[in-house]
């Protein structure tokens, strides 16, 4: 289907943005700077509106004004106290709101982190051993995990058995970093290919429409 002039105009905006950012490869320049600063403003505006519709409207406006849950006035009042950070004399009052924010966040995080990032990880790492390829892989992974953790153990000098374990640990970590690096590079290259294909398709559509 042939694209409309309107669709081409919108795609043209995307093409200008893409070319503007790519122009940075030739060095810092005004074209890049304009696009970069516009992007800063657009991102800020986008997130403000997204949070306005999803958080402010749903959690403040609907709860207090529509559903009459008056107890939501308290966190709203605390949120407004945060604005006192703009005053040098009264900035300390905003600490009360910050205290609730930090206290609730850490209170939620501590047990959840223990469960999800420590216990569940250990549960996944320690399982019954079977005498096949999967069992051997499991033992290698468990040894790798133990050695990698010993690399982060600083309460004892890394000599003797601990020294050997930490050396094996850094080897495991390097394989992990290498795999992570390889995947990241391929992800970025995939994005690059996608942008180049977009520019090619856009120019084909544009010239096809004109001529």
């Amino acid at each position: 289907m042939e694209p409309t002039w309107g669709a081409l105009a919108w795609q043209g905006l995307a093409a200008i943005v893409t070319l503007g950012i790519f122009s940075f490869l030739a060095g810092d320049n005004p074209f890049y700077k304009i696009i970069e600063r516009t992007w800063v403003g657009v991102t800020t505006g986008y997130w403000l509106m997204l949070l306005y519709h999803t958080s402010f409207h749903d959690k403040v406006w609907v709860n207090i004004v529509v559903q009459h849950k008056w107890w939501y006035i308290l966190p709203t009042f605390l949120g407004l106290l945060m604005w006192l950070r703009l005053s040098r004399k009264l900035a300390w009052i905003s600490r009360y709101a910050l205290a609730f924010y930090i206290g609730i966040s850490t209170g939620i995080y501590i047990p959840l982190a223990f469960k999800n990032f420590v216990f569940l990880q250990l549960e996944g790492a320690v399982r019954p051993i079977s005498f096949d390829a999967a069992g051997i892989n499991f033992v290698i992974a468990l040894v790798g995990l133990t050695c990698s953790l010993s690399y982060f153990f600083f309460s004892k000098p890394h000599t003797g058995i601990l020294g050997g374990m930490s050396k094996a640990g850094i080897l495991t970590l390097m394989i992990g970093f290498g795999a992570g690096f390889g995947l990241t590079v391929m992800g970025r290259v995939a994005l690059l290919v996608q942008r180049v294909i977009f520019l090619r398709d856009y120019s084909v559509n544009l010239f096809g429409k004109i001529f």
């Binding site: 509106m49 209170g107 790798g144």
Partner: protein, 207 residues
Amino acid sequence: MKRQIPIALVFVAGLLLVIQFFVPHPASEFFFTFATDWIIVIGILALPIGIFSLLRNTYMKGRSDSKERIYSIATFAGFFLMVVSGLPSGSREAGSLHMKFFQNLLVPAQATLFSMLAFYIASAAYRAFRMRTLLAGVLLITAFVVMLRLIPLPEPLSTWNSELVRWILAVPNMAAKRAIIIGVALGAITYSMKILLGIETAYMGRD
């Protein structure tokens, strides 16, 4: 008053939430939902401070430096474009002006910025991947093998490479990632405990 009460509030709020985790009761769940809403409400109402700070700095920069003025105007234009187009209630629906700006301005800008990192990663890799030590060699070979997976290779090389990459990702990579996750979690938990107990108070700033 200025420091002790906030420290006590952090401790009480944090402790209540930690206890709540171990109490499977509807009242406890209601408390958890309410507490989560609290941080969302406080967070969303704190957002204008950050935006005000950004806009003020942009304005001051544009006012003091004539070369910067056009870039400051660009930031303001982008911001107001999204705010004005995003205010109507239907602005989040596909095809709205707000979503068109999102699709054709924000998304391509972000994708291009990330894609450009491919060039910088390549130059950084050139410096980092010179095989000076055994460990650097291990990193280089692993990255090379993983990257080869996405390139069409003749058989049976392609199958061998796929099997090897699958093993690397599922066994040593998994062990390394688990160690990092556990290490980071233990560090973050320790830091959170310090905040809860009032040992760490940097978040309050100075008097």
